[in-house]
Amino acid sequence: MATTVAAPPYPGSYSKQESGLWSWLTTVDHKRIGQLYLYTALVWFFIGGLEAGLIRWQLRSPNAGFISADLYNQLFTMHGTTMIFLGVMPLSAAFFNFLIPLQIGARDVAFPRLNAFSYWVFLAGGLLMNFSWLVGAAPDGGWFGYAPLTTRAYSPGPNIDYWVLGLQILGISSLAAAFNFVTTIINMRAPGMHFMRMPIFTWASFVTQFLLILAFPIITVALTFLQFDRFFGTNFYTVAAGADPLLWQHLFWLFGHPEVYILILPAFGLVSEVLPTFSRKPLFGYPVMVYSLILIAFLGFGVWAHHMFAVGMGPIADAVFGVTTMLIAIPTGVKIFNWLGTLWGGSLRFTTAMLFAVGLIALFTIGGISGVMHSSPPADLQQTDSYFVVAHFHYVMFGGSMMGIFAGIYYYFPKITGRLLHEGLGKVHFWLTFIGMNLTFFPMHYAGLTGMARRTFTYDANQGWDVENQVATIGYFVLAVAMAAFAINLMRSRTRGQRVGNDPWGAPTLEWTLPSPVPVYNFAELPIVTSRYPLWDKQHRGHAEVPTAPETETHTAHEDVVDVVSEHRGLPGEPQHPTAADLGIHMPSPTIKPLLAAIALTIPFVGLLMNTNVPVIIGGGVLFVAVLYSWLLTPVEPEHHPPVSAGHSAAPKGRPRADEPFWSDR
């Protein structure tokens, strides 16, 4: 057997009492929270995809009367908002959660309970926003909610209220998570894990957290203004009081453009993990890959007004923003070419994960090129707000972010569950996605260039857009079959997928030294890292245990799954491995408080929606503060000896709390 990594003596799994519903509600384990993010976000993604289906069905032919203008407007608003804030961002967060501690050699994130809180707040925000469908008043202001259309004067209903408040809640979740991951990456790296040894996904995540930290407060302010205008009668966007609608646009896009890099950089990171593994070559130009991430993020803050070329900013601003936007193509191009350099000379094995990763290179490039076409302001005057833009952003977000995320899911599923996703279904998923995606979105370029404006619930006959729209609608159905294959694959492989050992792909990074699934405590002992690719370390090449591609064909869909269904490892659910306690590892105790805090935090927002019900708002606020106190005053871990590093003699027994820092930091 071509086992390259010996199965460790502590095959990991959760014991029975750790798998009930309560355990999920109280979990503070980053791996479980990662899974919660993953499955929740996939559900939202499917809902967003269903909304896209209704959109496509309405647009299949001119003057179709399938849905009303108002419903259509709600659909595209919720489709865009859902895909971005409830789909791609939390899918990325799923990987941040699951992977970052594993990749840097940590037992958990810096603040495990804050992490659980982020998840529950995200769930609450998504539920609140989608609750609007049930009351028949889903948001309808477009995903970038331009004022003054979104002010009370022009949108009197509760629709926009759901949108504003939902996004505010989601912002809290993203920010809390970002503080957490920044701290984790800065401070929890295993010994020897220098910054320039960090796996590239961790780097991409690190940069993304900075984007989140710096971009989200801006939209928080923009939304707060809108919220105050709508609820308290302030004048930030009140035209009659002399307000300038461009205030919203500048604030929104000052957030919004960094946001699109928040959507793509994690996908870039995932792909940068997948490509080396299946090329059996290190990432080409690792340092440059890191610098380009940083440069993209940095430039990303200076280009926001390219969404506003039609607002009449004047020639100087147009020129400046046009040129700075173009500059971003350079670091992004470096990434594309370095990926090609990684593949070049490799030994490429086209697993599903690899197919999606290569698919990203192809499709994202198309989206990037249309982005550069937008960046020329005069040319953009024809393209903006037409279907050309719709084509651009689906190529970068579906062809980029989603492809990268799919690659990541196929690649890391065995690490998450101990089982492989089915490769055959995976290939169906990939090829139908690739074909369907091009069928759906490529014709949109042409529809846009031939005059079709976006966000139109209908279009007249004989305008020259019939074929494009028909093809796009057909493409949607191809995509829907692809996604159904994916959903089936996920559901069946969770319980029936092929079992694997630590490192089914022969991958190089730290997380693959761990059993699959990973035990609660991740690392029984903290590793010392001495290279960027510990599992491929050069000096060990040629030794028997060096990862080499197996020559024997196995019965699996792809030839090189290293079959380490090991004798050491029992059935899942059978605690055959030492528990954390056995190993003397102190893990954070499960607690319901993050969930309670998330619920309490949501109450004031619900109160605002209930006709600004003051008692509910104040009650919720007080409850939140109370839960927060109770949370912060409970130690994160079960009582144990004070850390030696505190350099302080033990305090009297029996009052362990007095001895801990009085609030646990997490």
Binding site: V5, A6, A110, A178, F179, N180, V182, T183, I186, N187, M188, R189, A190, P191, I213, L214, P217, I218, T220, V221, A222, F225, F228, F232, G233, T234, N235, F236, A241, G242, A243, D244, L251, D503, T513, A524, E525, L526, P527, I528, V529, T530, P534, L535, D537, H540, E545, V546, H586, P643, V644, S645, A646, G647, H648, R655, F662, W663, D665, R666
Partner: protein, 206 residues
């Protein structure tokens, strides 16, 4: 084993790559975020300053052409200077409180924590006074752009001060109950960091 590159060792349980406290890093990140938050608020205030269609205005009197009613200039530099001074002093008290905690000086840690909280509360008192004055002078949240931006900006700052005061009182309470010592320095440090930040923001606003 292929994990040869990863030697195992018994790391201390609370491992930290930088030697810094996790909370401190997180609070720095939080402050970074807050900078952008207040920058957005302050920019809006500045952008909208000259766009008011009706008074009252910050620096000059304004007469309503329709009614002939005159609104006096709103901003009262002496009062604001006094409250700014109080807030600045509180930062000093905070520094003293922190060093008292590091020394393990239970008496002065209490005194200085209490002074800091009190100074913060005094600032809030000034702010409440000013807000009522302004409302009497005709400036409300809804009145004009100046009212909306001014109250939102200073209101958010006030909310931050309030949170800080609550934090300080919590520290004080713990100090009285079981005493704050050097082992708590990190936590007091974080509070101090936040408090100084809130202070600096006020200077920027002022």
């Amino acid at each position: 084993m292929a994990t040869a590159a990863i030697e195992r060792h018994d790391a201390p349980h609370h491992h930290s790559s930088t030697g810094l406290d996790n909370t401190k890093i997180a609070v720095w990140a939080f402050i970074g975020s807050e900078c952008l938050f207040f920058m957005s608020l302050i920019s809006t205030y500045l952008i909208y300053k000259g766009r008011n269609l009706v008074g009252p205005l910050p620096h000059e009197a304004w007469t309503d052409p329709a009614t002939g009613e005159t609104f006096k200039a709103i901003l009262n530099i002496p009062v604001t200077s006094a409250s700014t001074f109080v807030l600045l002093m509180s930062s000093l008290f905070m520094v003293l409180a922190h060093s008292a905690v590091v020394r393990g000086d239970r008496k002065y840690s209490k005194i200085w924590l209490a002074s800091t909280a009190l100074a913060g509360a005094t600032f809030l008192g000034f702010q409440a006074f000013e807000f009522t004055e302004f409302v009497h002078a005709g400036l409300t949240l809804k009145r004009n752009l100046f009212g909306s931006t001014f109250f939102t900006l200073t209101g958010f700052h006030g909310a931050h001060v309030t949170a800080g005061v609550i934090w300080l009182i919590t520290l004080l309470f713990i100090d009285m109950k079981r005493g704050l010592g050097p082992r708590d320095a990190g936590n007091v440090d974080v509070c101090a960091l936040y408090w100084h930040f809130v202070d600096v923001v006020w200077i920027a606003i002022f």
